[in-house]
């Protein structure tokens, strides 16, 4: 069964550094998403992406965050200047249509030192 893959599984970065999290969504999916989950807390929506542009973003997704689909298969989340509070699991998801269920990757654990 096709799946969403994310790399790396764990990223350790110094505060203030830039980090790029990578995702390969399911190949025939058109909608892409990033979520964050701080340890022990709820899954939080960051951003959705469709047709090469952001369709919706949350308050968390400020100017430090950006997303890109650099080619036909990858979908990336960039954090420009990381803060301690950015430490969390970051999940990528994709869906075939907006009203179809989202399928998640296993996440990247981001640790900011």
């Amino acid at each position: 069964e096709p799946e969403v893959t994310q790399t790396p599984s764990h990223q350790v970065t110094q505060m203030g550094q830039e980090v790029i999290l990578r995702c390969v969504p399911i190949s025939n999916h058109l909608y892409f998403y990033w979520y964050r989950q701080i340890l022990g807390q709820k899954v939080e929506f960051l951003v959705s992406f469709y047709n090469n542009e952001i369709s919706e973003k949350s308050e968390i997704f400020d100017d430090q965050f950006s997303v890109e689909r650099p080619d036909g298969s990858n979908f990336t989340l960039k954090i420009r200047s990381t803060k301690l509070e950015d430490s969390a699991m970051y999940f990528c998801a994709s869906s075939r249509e907006w009203d179809q269920p989202q399928h998640f990757g296993d996440g990247t654990r981001l640790s900011i030192l």
């Binding site: 899954v43 919706e56 907006w98 009203d99 998640f104 996440g107």
Partner: protein
């Protein structure tokens, strides 16, 4: 009032028991209802997806939606220790011209051998 309410648990039951997990919601515009299972340090895994009131069965899992009461349930029959995980409800609708997926907080389920 939160849009989606879900008891965080933990809910601890003996192996073989029938498990009932529930979410309530306040916005009658929600049209699509999902249950996800999340193991520790893994991404949410889609279990069930429904868009109408009534029951949907898949193996040991039954999803129930009651739109009149704004209440959804997930039943697990013949529960196994491998079912121990956090179960998240999620529901979606087109709100203010934006597709929104709203998550419950997740219920931690423990199946005791």
């Amino acid at each position: 009032q939160k849009e989606v309410e879900q008891d965080p648990g933990p809910l601890s039951v003996p192996e073989g028991a029938i498990v009932s997990l529930n979410c309530t919601y306040s916005n009658s515009a929600f049209q699509y209802f999902m249950w996800y299972r999340q193991y520790s340090r893994k991404g949410p895994e889609l279990l069930m997806y429904t868009y109408s009131s009534g029951n949907k069965e898949d193996g040991r899992f039954t999803a129930q939606v009651d739109k009149s009461s704004k209440y959804i349930s997930l039943f697990i029959r013949d529960s196994q220790p491998s079912d121990s995980a956090t179960y998240l409800c999620a529901m979606s609708a087109l709100l203010d011209s934006n597709y929104q997926l709203i998550w419950g907080a997740g219920t931690k389920l423990i199946i005791k051998p």
